[in-house]
């Protein structure tokens, strides 16, 4: 077994280096692995291209397996490198995509407001997240294709209600009209940062209670757990 491969959840400081390619750019303070999931053809790839490249094409080739894009953003004077994995929505690719859930810090769970089936599948996707991802992973429920109001079959209220039930944040977006795309990513990054700060605090507390224990056993006249 070679040296342990670099983990994506490692919040690592890397030495700055000059690189033309965003994917191999090592100049960042934190790296977050994010995943976009949802039924086939809800617009995951378009959404990602809009966010990462600020471009929109009405049709992208259907994703085979998984693909990714990288974008670096600033948060509290820190460079956060987002490694965003785009997944194929087809049932046939379910095994390969769920393998990538572990280690993801955030999810964009997407449905298409013009497609009832894609909305009905949200519950299943949420279950998949619960099964395969870390407990601490954060999820945004994103209702895409908001520009196609004429063909809408899923109302905003239903989307909001479902998000509330699942405990996710909710955005209606349009990759085509660049509506709320950045906003939903920004929000996801923010909640991950909050969660991270929280767990840092926790572990600091755990560390201090840990020392307390060690201190106790170090003394021969230590107080046992029961009170006097």
């Amino acid at each position: 077994m070679s040296e342990a491969p670099r983990r994506f959840y490692d919040l690592q400081m890397s030495s700055p280096s000059t690189s033309k390619n965003d994917a191999t750019d090592q100049n960042f303070d934190y790296m977050f692995k994010l995943l976009i999931i949802g039924n086939s053809a809800v617009g995951k790839t378009s959404f990602l291209f809009r966010y990462a490249d600020d471009s929109f094409t009405s049709a992208f080739v259907s994703t085979v397996g998984i693909d990714f894009k990288v974008k670096t953003v600033q948060r509290n004077n820190k460079r956060v490198k987002l490694q965003i994995w785009d997944t194929a929505g087809q049932e046939r690719y379910r095994t390969i995509t769920t393998a990538y859930y572990r280690g993801a810090m955030g999810f964009i769970l997407m449905y298409d407001i013009t497609n009832e089936d894609s909305f009905n599948a949200v519950q299943d996707w949420a279950t998949q997240i619960k099964t395969y991802s870390w407990d601490s992973a954060q999820v945004m429920l994103v209702a895409n294709k908001a520009d196609m109001e004429n063909e809408r079959v899923v109302s905003t209220e239903r989307g909001e209600e479902l998000a509330r039930q699942l405990g996710f944040d909710f955005f209606e977006t349009s990759a085509k009209e660049n509506l709320n795309v950045s906003a939903s990513f920004d929000r996801l990054v923010d909640v991950i940062c909050d969660k991270m700060a929280e767990s840092l605090e926790e572990s600091a507390q755990a560390a201090s209670t840990g020392t307390q224990n060690l201190h106790d056993v170090g003394q021969s006249e230590n107080k046992p757990p029961c009170s006097c």
Partner: protein, 881 residues
């Protein structure tokens, strides 16, 4: 101009070292802002309080000193202290609190703390200790003492201030309290038993009274008040120590203290207050019969290192982890060729170890000692054989299918939180069995590395043999690697998957593939029967004309019809399974994708798509791309609009791939998943791991097992011990694959604490069992014994607790041959005291009758090895100097 002239000029502006030292002391006293007032103490307040300590390094005359401040943290009763102080002011001269404390009987004979606090019942004090040297020179001592007095006076600090003098190990001090126009001088006298043989006669009360009175010199108005305590060390048995290591042979893991967590019970028989005229204590005769003492109290004396077995085992594991040797290093020590076994295919991996003889060449290398060669060779061979046998036994037992692990017995054993969330291995899995075996290899104190290496090697052989013989591994339930488990578990699951593939393939040659074909044929026949005659006929005729159009590899018929042949049903083909991946494979794939351009990323992942297309074509002769999309990506086709926009893009990868794939059923396709190479990769990897890498793989499972053992062993009555087991933190670490050496070390430390506490509870339960008439009294005693510094025994020598203690003394002490001979003074049954302590107190107008009445005190302690007196004698400086 001479040098002395210059010196004289500068002398006016330069403070002398002594002045600087005094200023530094004074400064420090100010900086710490020391509180010197306080209200009278509650009984035993000092013993129960937590103590705080501040310290500072100082320099004087080229020597460095540690100035320390010790104080008991006592909750001040609101305002009461100040009121009292004011009353005092009116009533009499206000003397420093520390001086008053000298006469306080409520805090005598503290069971623990700084010796000065024990001798003088100080609530707070300053002590100056030379850091490296001993202060032997009398003039130096005097200089520093006067510096102390001056700094106290300048700072108006009324705390006791002591200076450590003479040899450190003798704990000698001198010092004073200065305040309220009075001062108290402290003096300590110390004799070792050797030195003291001449002075031993003074180690009784009558002599001490003599010393006290002659030291005070002024007439003592009232009888001297005495407090006396005789202390005994009572040994209690701890018979389960050996049982704690091995209960059952291999099904129970190490837990508990290997030696008694309580070294002895310290029994103190006290006379809290006796007047000097009521007690006689001379070298010839004593009234001090411990059985008659009005107060009995006990405290546990804990063993600093009770050798907690789980923590010891984990530390042994950490040690070999840290050494990070290659497996071969250990295997060669027992003449075990690391390369052997890979080519052999013995049906029973255990046989190989038994039949294998050590190679002499290896041994010569090992011993490297020509003269002792013959002897060491024999010994070595013997040792190797022993270890091999032992490991063989461990494996035979732990890997047998019927090993009942603690959790499978269901005796309140499992910790659901751990078993569900810990990223390790399922209960009763093969990996758990390996973990148990590793634990048993670790439980011996010597040659842990050799045992560990051999076990690992044999585990690989076990896996390999199963793979080669196409026997399913026992106790591996998952169908494919489950990412919620540890990497080791995933890899074992992967091997199991490979074995299954191999079985399937082997089966397919003889029956399965034919069956499959038969099945699809039967299906088509069935469909023929159900469908109309025309369809049937055409199908038959087609088969006869073009054999390659015979549909192959059909899995299931759908309701859809082919677009070009509306009479033909669309069949879902039998497809290759998505190859399962362990998390390191996923990471490698991820890494590989990240280093490729977008086009290549698609190509890299097209194998499955292309295989699906081939299979689809084979199952649906005459099908077009649209048919495939309808099955594979239904949202990309609608009957009204045909293919979606994205499926018709020029240069579309899907279309390209469709045009180049041939119709081929899965049975004739190249396997996407190569079980042989995947399994061999794992075997090769396993064989080349060094011990630290193996440890990384094993750790989550090892820690899981250690925590489960802890949960199973702590007392269920009280969940405080359960709470001390670091369960949720460890689960979190395991889920992030962050169980480092440091993390395991922390777990070991915390478990050691739990084991120690549990050991103490067990000790208590064993020796003071809560039963019989005195159940309630014993219960109350047990509640206090481990948590309070000292526990007063109800009924002293006549109570039920004393009865238990006296029985233990009777059982353990050797019986005196002559029952009638008089027992030696101070002895309790047959036990001599480990310490005799006396405190003599009086309030005396000193140094002259018109002086204020001030506290005088002498503490003495007599142990078998030393005799110590610590005096505090106060005098009024106001009218007499």
């Amino acid at each position: 101009m001479s040098e002395s002239d210059i010196f004289e000029i500068e002398d006016y502006t330069t403070a002398s070292p002594l002045e600087k030292f005094i200023a530094a002391l004074e400064d420090q006293i100010h900086q710490w802002g020391l509180e010197t007032r306080g209200s009278p103490l509650d009984k035993n307040a000092l013993a129960q309080a937590n103590w705080t300590k501040k310290s500072k390094k100082l320099e004087f005359l080229g020597k460095s000193f540690d100035l320390e401040y010790h104080a008991a943290l006592i909750d001040e009763k609101d305002g009461a202290g100040f009121e009292m102080a004011e009353e005092d002011l009116e009533d009499k001269r206000q003397i420093p609190v520390a001086m008053e404390d000298l006469l306080d009987r409520g805090n005598d004979f503290m069971p623990r703390g700084h010796p000065l606090a024990l001798w003088y019942s100080f609530r707070a004090f300053l002590v100056l200790t030379p850091s490296e040297t001993n202060l032997m020179d009398q003039s130096e001592i005097s200089t520093i003492s006067s510096a102390l007095n001056l700094s106290l006076f300048n700072a108006s600090c009324e705390l006791p201030f002591l200076l450590e003098i003479k040899n450190k190990n003798r704990a000698m001090f001198t010092g004073a309290i200065v305040g309220g126009g009075c001062s108290t001088d402290f003096d300590v006298v110390h004799f070792n038993r050797k030195q003291a043989s001449d002075h031993w006669e003074i180690s009784n009360l009558s002599s001490l009274l003599h010393v006290f009175k002659s030291k005070v010199r002024s007439p003592i108005p009232l009888p001297v008040q005495l407090s006396v305590r005789l202390t005994y060390a009572v040994q209690f048995p701890f018979p389960f120590s050996s049982k704690a290591v091995r209960i059952g042979k291999y099904s129970t893991l190490p837990w508990g203290c290997m030696i008694s967590p309580i070294e002895f019970l310290q029994l103190s028989c006290s006379w809290p207050i006796v007047s000097e005229d009521l007690v006689s204590d001379t070298p010839e005769y004593t009234d001090l019969d411990p059985l008659q003492a009005p107060q009995w109290s006990v405290c546990p004396v804990y063993n600093n290192n009770p050798k907690t077995s789980m923590a010891t085992t984990l530390n042994g594991y950490l040690k070999i982890w840290d050494e990070a040797m290659p497996i071969g290093f250990y295997l060669s020590q027992i003449g075990y060729n690391p390369n052997e076994g890979s080519s052999e295919t013995s049906s029973n991996p255990l046989e190989k170890i038994v039949s294998h003889q050590p190679e002499v060449t290896n041994l010569t290398k090992m011993t490297g000692n020509i003269t002792g060669f013959i002897d060491s060779n024999v010994q070595h061979e013997e040792r190797s054989r022993r270890i091999r046998e032992e490991i063989e036994n461990i494996m035979a037992v732990t890997f047998s299918d019927d090993l009942i692990t603690p959790s499978s017995t269901g005796l309140g054993s499992t910790c659901p939180e751990l078993d569900q969330k810990m990223k390790s291995c399922p209960r009763n899995s093969l990996v758990q069995k390996l973990t148990l075996a590793i634990f048993h290899a670790l439980m011996v104190e010597k040659e842990v590395g050799v045992r560990f290496a051999l076990l690992w090697k044999k585990f690989i052989e076990f896996l390999k043999t199963h793979f080669e013989n196409m026997t399913l591994l026992p106790c591996v339930e998952s169908k494919h690697p489950q990412l919620q488990y540890s990497l080791l578990q995933q890899k074992v699951e992967m091997i199991q998957y490979c074995i299954k593939c191999k079985l399937l393939r082997a089966g397919r040659i003889s029956s399965t593939s034919i069956d499959n074909r038969k099945k699809s044929l039967q299906e088509s026949e069935k469909s023929c029967e159900s469908d109309d005659e025309f369809f049937d006929a055409e199908d038959d005729s087609k088969e006869m004309i073009k054999n390659e159009d015979l549909p192959e590899g059909r899995e299931k018929k759908t309701d859809m019809k082919l677009l070009k042949f509306s009479e033909k049903a669309l069949y879902i083909p039998i497809t290759q399974q998505q190859p399962p991946m362990t998390e390191d494979m996923i990471e490698a794939q991820q890494e590989a994708l990240m280093n490729e351009k977008a086009e290549n990323r698609i190509l890299m992942q097209s194998t499955m798509l292309s295989s699906d297309m081939s299979a689809f074509k084979a199952a649906n002769p005459g099908a077009v791309f649209e048919d495939f999309v309808r099955w594979h990506s239904p949202t990309d086709f609608s009957t009204e609009n045909g293919l979606s926009a994205r499926m018709t893009l020029p240069g579309n990868h899907w279309v390209d791939l469709w045009s180049t794939t041939k119709a081929e059923p899965v049975s004739r396709q190249k396997r996407v998943f190569d079980d042989t190479s995947v399994a061999n990769d794992i075997f090769t990897e396993f064989e080349n791991l060094s011990v630290d890498q193996i440890c990384k793989l094993l750790t989550p499972n090892i820690v899981h097992e250690a925590l489960v053992t802890a949960v199973n062993n702590v007392s269920t009555e009280d969940d405080s011990l359960l709470k001390m087991i670091p369960i949720s933190d460890t689960i979190k670490l395991s889920q992030h694959d962050a169980l480092s050496m440091k993390a395991v070390e922390n777990v070991a430390d915390e478990l050691s604490t739990v084991e120690t506490f549990q050991g103490r509870l067990t000790w208590l339960d064993l020796n003071f069992s809560e039963s019989g008439d005195a159940k309630e009294i014993i219960k109350a005693f047990n509640k206090s014994f481990l948590s309070c510094p000292e526990t007063i025994i109800q009924g002293a020598a006549r109570g039920p607790i004393a009865k238990i203690i006296l029985e233990k003394i009777n059982d353990s002490a050797p019986r005196r041959v002559d029952e009638n001979s008089q027992k030696p003074p101070y002895s309790l049954v047959n036990l001599s005291p480990s310490n005799r302590e006396y405190i003599l107190r009086a309030s005396v107008n000193r140094p002259v009758p018109v002086s204020a009445k001030l506290p005088q005190r002498l503490y003495a302690s007599v142990t078998p090895s030393e005799f110590r007196m610590a005096g505090a004698f106060s005098s009024d400086n106001t009218f007499f100097f």
